[in-house]
Symmetry: C2
Subunit: 105 residues, 2 copies
C-alpha cells in the first residue's frame, strides 16, 4: 500500500500531541469507559471531551460502542501499547532529566 509516511505520521502524532487527549488515553489504557466517566475522572469540560474523543476515534486510536445513551470508549491496544512502550523506552534511555525533552522554551 502506497502512502506518504510524513503525512500519515503528521495525522497520527498531532492527534496524540495534546495533554487533554493524552490524559484520556492514559485513562482508557486502564479500562474502557464512557465519555461522562472520562469527563468526571479528569475534570475536563464535556464538550472538550467529546471533541477530543472524536479526533481520537477518527484516527482509530480508540474505538467506541454505543450502550443505550452512553458511548463506551476503549483503547486501540494493539497500536497504543507498542507506541507507549516505545516512548517509555526512549525516555528512559535518552531523556536523562524530567523536562529535558519537554516543553521548556
Amino acid at each position: 500500500m502506497k502512502r506518504n509516511l510524513s503525512e500519515t505520521c503528521y495525522g497520527f502524532f498531532s492527534t496524540l500531541a495534546n495533554p487533554a487527549r493524552l490524559a484520556i488515553m492514559e485513562k482508557l489504557r486502564k479500562e474502557p469507559m464512557n465519555a461522562t466517566t472520562i469527563k468526571e475522572n479528569l475534570g475536563q469540560e464535556q464538550s472538550m471531551v467529546s471533541h477530543n474523543l472524536r479526533l481520537l476515534e477518527r484516527c482509530a486510536l480508540v474505538y467506541s460502542e454505543k450502550k443505550g445513551r452512553e458511548k463506551v470508549y476503549r483503547l486501540n491496544i494493539e497500536t497504543m501499547e507498542t507506541i507507549f512502550k516505545a516512548v517509555e523506552n526512549h525516555a528512559n534511555k535518552f531523556c536523562p532529566k524530567k523536562g529535558k525533552c519537554s516543553h521548556s522554551k
Copy 2:
C-alpha cells in the same frame, strides 16, 4: 524510573507533530546529512531548519556531530524505526483511506 507518561508523550509527540520536522526525519532516515543539505533538499528556510533541528535534538530524536563548520545530523534509528513502523502498521491496518486519519476538519 518514575515518570509521568502523559507528559513524556506530550514532549515526544509534539516534537514530531509538524510537517517540516517530519520531512527532515524522513530525509535523515535515508542517511545522515548536514543542516545545509537538509535545507537545500527540502527547500526549507535556513533558520527554520535550525530551529527544528534543535527541537528534534533536544528530544534525542536525532543526534549531531560537528564537522568543521558543518553539523551533521543523524536519526536516532533505535527509537525512530520502531515508531515509524508502528505508525505504518497502524495506518495500513486501521486507516482505510488517505486523509481519513489526517487533517480534514
